[in-house]
Subunit: 333 residues, 2 copies
């Protein structure tokens, strides 16, 4: 099943979306918003599934689904916690600034608490007040959980995954060193993230969803050029079950919690840093990584951060090259 | 005006509460929850104020207000961001571990993004799975904002403060060094916080609310003994306007954002670390601070962290010694 929220008020209007993303059906008689549905998932899920079946069979009124009418599926959420599961990415960034990466990073997940009071829709502009802040994209996979008890095991955590989607976790790179030096984590350096138009239940992903990972390429274009084609199912040191269990170690998690994978990143075939797509590599899912590789190879970063007018496109495809979750496409404003 | 949320479902039922906290009136015909009221504050505030007037005049049905029936006023929120405005506290903690405190801490606020997907009610137990985690209380002042535009000035930020209250920001001290060393801020070390039964509009605080600070003593008892009597209006290096403007520097803040002051802490009269109440001082608002002072004075911390069965009581009083926001009273479970 695929769900989305059409732009409306603070929380959107819940719709179910056809598998090909061409059509949708109003679901507000079942639950007015996606959060309301998540709060009562076991009760409303059968009704939402029936609605999807009726939509697929064209036996109910349906409306065209336009991705630019979609808000983030959760336009605001009670929790957004972002992991850093592709440890390869972390190791590279550290290497570029000649900082040692603790060995523990390979078995103890990194995770930060993100702001969740307002997310960007998939076609919303990225509001950037100052280019000197060093605006970057970060293409990631996300999951939405139901209620997760404190101390949940990885298996319990995997069972609590209700929806899967994508995010552009916008980051202000030049504000990060100062904030991390203060020791309290990210705040000003992490403005609102954008999410894919559609979130999808794990069962609807079939074999693409297994072992708590999305086994599809994460496609990233920058200003119309291929920039990233990393395989989200590879080099993910911590699967989503492990990330959720980490988040729930000392407290329960509320329904509608969004957990992010961190920037998707693949090692190169020879084990070194990934190559650009133009050089036969799988490219990158954020600018910081290509800048890191440039620093390692040639002594300095050459690719600039995002400027006004730059466009970012993030999606994942089915075998017929149709977007699974719709497309995040944003212009810096 | 004073508002509270009676325990009911995930978001409680909105009530207005009499000034003496003895009575309340159902407000769900105006807005079902406090979040719904905050989403539409300008429209609903006159109705809520009329309800309070009717309650005070006893012209509507009223029910006894029992603080143990209250959830946190926002049982879950879209944002909880906690500052560290009493820089004296930070300086002391650093001094105890012989760490230099950067001079910038006196003019650039520290703030972390907290988890907001589920808060504890004022009489809920503190669920602690492992005493070795080093459970601490942190008594703080909080404000709730309306919508705050990106780049808001301190003055705009002050105007956006809709409600004032108290929190017990539970911290797991022994998990903090490991998390901060990883560089991504707090996560497992900050389980659910508890909030005062009642939040109060700034105008209802009169002269106690000025310059973006609450000018009342923050009362803290530990196991029935006076532990803290610090003056919240003193030694607050950053007022709430400055804290909110800091949070809104790179992104707007959504209605219902909760901003915390950080642990309230006063210098001693001679400028040194504060003394215990038994020694004529104003005491402390968290165990870490008394342990820090013990370390500075006698080489090691003596006061233990919270154990099962310990009780914490946090409140502020009017001139007749009646609680203004009700009382947070929690037992470690």
């Amino acid at each position: 099943m695929k769900v989305a929220s059409l732009k409306h008020g603070r929380d959107g209007r819940l719709v179910v979306v056809s598998n090909d993303l061409a059509w949708c059906a109003d679901a507000t008689h079942i639950a007015p918003t996606l959060q309301a549905a998540l709060d009562d998932w076991d009760r409303v899920l059968p009704d939402l599934r029936n609605l999807q079946t009726d939509l697929d069979h064209e036996v109910i009124p349906r409306i065209r689904f336009h991705e630019h009418d979609a808000a983030a599926p959760l336009p605001r959420a009670y929790q957004w916690a972002d992991g850093s599961a592709y440890v390869n990415h972390v190791a590279l960034v550290r290497q570029a600034r000649s900082a040692e990466m603790p060995e523990s990073f390979w078995h103890d997940p990194l995770m930060y608490q993100g702001g969740s009071d307002g997310f960007l829709g998939p076609r919303d502009g990225i509001p950037l007040a100052d280019e000197a802040w060093g605006c970057d994209l970060e293409a990631e996979v996300v999951v939405v959980t139901g209620d997760v008890p404190q101390g949940a095991s990885r298996e319990q955590a995997l069972d609590a995954i209700l929806l899967v989607g994508l995010t552009n976790d916008v980051s202000l790179r030049n504000l990060i060193p100062g904030e991390l030096a203060k020791g309290f984590g990210f705040f000003q350096s992490k403005p609102a993230s954008a999410f894919s138009p559609v979130f999808v239940t794990p069962d609807a992903l079939g074999d693409w969803w297994r072992d708590g990972k999305l086994h599809r390429k994460l496609m990233v274009d920058l200003n119309g050029q291929p920039f990233g084609r990393a395989e989200a199912g590879e080099d993910m040191t911590f699967d989503f079950g492990t990330l959720i269990a980490h988040a729930a170690r000392t407290r329960k998690l509320g329904a509608g919690t969004i957990i992010g994978s961190g920037t998707v990143s693949n090692r190169d075939a020879d084990g070194g840093p990934g190559k650009p797509i133009a050089d036969g590599g799988v490219g990158y899912s954020c600018l910081a990584e290509v800048r890191t590789v440039e620093t390692i190879l040639r002594g300095k970063a050459e690719t600039p951060f995002l400027k006004k007018g730059d466009t970012v496109r993030i999606w994942a495809e089915d075998d017929k090259h149709h977007p699974i979750f719709g497309v995040i496409e944003q212009t810096v404003e």
